[in-house]
Amino acid sequence: MTWAELPQLLPWWGSIFAALYFVAAMWFEDAFVISTYRMYSPTADRSEGAVPTFFAAGVEARMIDYDRFEGIDPTGIRWDNFACSHQWMVHEARRWVEEHLAQRPEPGAVEVVWGFRVFKVTDAGEVLETFHPMVSGRAVRR
């Protein structure tokens, strides 16, 4: 192929760079502008799915509406062995509690629980749900 014929590479240029991207992704896995997009793929290899859930005074609530947490160890906010495809919610919940711990017992605090609603789907399509508390304590509505 002569230099003058090289523009005929144009239709193949995309495929060449697709291959280049593949090699780069295998090499770097997750670097800026490159990714293997493995984030959700392992979620298929599981039998249950855990959804982070927060209860205040026995009612499901948004964790961000509460602060001054007491009696809760933030390190307990993790997915452990639960298959969780909402990892960002776990990261955010842990940091929220870490940064909003009570300095002293607070009047008006209510019982709070953070844990996982664990879903399971049977082969027949029945959706089963249980709740697994991970940490509990008290917090004040903001």
């Binding site: 523009p7 760079f17 799915g49 959804v51 509406d65 960002w88 399509g125």
Partner: protein, 256 residues
């Protein structure tokens, strides 16, 4: 405005959008921005606000200049700015948590590979080199989507099409979003045969995304990819304007 220019306009606007989203995720890092709740966000320090304003101005200028001149300098600047804000974002979390938080920058990928493909183009004609660049961008985005399907197979085999795959994800997401969507997700989660077919279709479409690198197949594949992304948004609740628009924008630029 030609179709090519419209595609270029989408790329330029989305480069600014991508920056702004990352800045917001960083500014609101003390709240729960990835869960789309800004209620806990404190007023950021003045220097953070100044950084955000200056950075947004620079990114907007770079995108505007790139749209009008097609020059590599503003394009490189736009990519650099996206890298800067990603590094800043990473510093607000431990280790590689940002990866687990799922923030991707498909338009950053597109323009980075456009720059690379143009620089390596086997021609001295700048117009032709630009076309080579956009073909390279299409190749990178084709593999991005293809890798979604490839990784599912390599990590989980065919389980994606079993009840532990899509059914379980639908069941999980039936607790979020507007009531009609929640009901739809629960209804589908209870339909293993339908979701097995849907899961298989999704993986096939992701793998078919590899053909986005091929100009003659691009238009058809683009339609399939847009439907896939929209399906993911509706059924799984991931709102992803960048993924929704990147394939149409590249198709408009390269097929015009």
């Amino acid at each position: 405005m030609s179709l090519h220019d419209a595609g270029l306009a989408i790329v330029s606007v989305m480069l600014v959008y991508s920056w702004c989203v990352s800045v917001l995720l960083w500014l609101a890092a003390d709240g729960m921005p990835y869960t789309y709740v800004l209620a806990g966000m404190r007023a950021p320090p003045a220097r953070y606000v100044a950084f955000a304003v200056v950075g947004t101005t620079i990114q907007a200028w770079a995108a505007w200049s790139f749209f009008h001149t097609g020059g590599w300098q503003p394009e490189l600047l736009a990519v650099f700015m996206l890298w800067v804000i990603r590094e800043v974002q990473k510093r607000t979390w431990d280790a590689d948590t940002v990866v687990e938080l799922g923030r991707y920058v498909p338009f950053g990928t597109a323009v980075a590979f456009h720059l690379l493909g143009r620089a390596l183009a086997p021609t001295s004609d700048p117009v032709l080199a630009d076309r080579f660049g956009w073909e390279a961008a299409c190749g990178a985005l084709a593999m991005s989507m293809g890798l979604n399907g490839i990784t599912k197979f390599t990590m989980s085999g065919l389980k994606w099409t079993s009840v532990s795959g899509l059914n379980l994800m639908l069941a999980e997401r039936s607790v979020f979003g507007p009531r009609p969507l929640r009901q739809l997700r629960l209804l589908l989660a209870r339909s293993p045969r339908f979701t097995a077919a849907l899961g298989m279709l999704g993986v096939v479409l992701e793998l078919a995304g590899l053909l986005f690198a091929v100009p003659s197949a691009r238009l058809l594949i683009m339609v399939g990819l847009v439907l896939t992304v929209l399906g993911i948004e509706v059924l799984l609740g991931y709102f992803e304007p960048e993924w929704t628009l990147v394939y149409p924008a590249l198709a408009m630029i390269t097929l015009a």
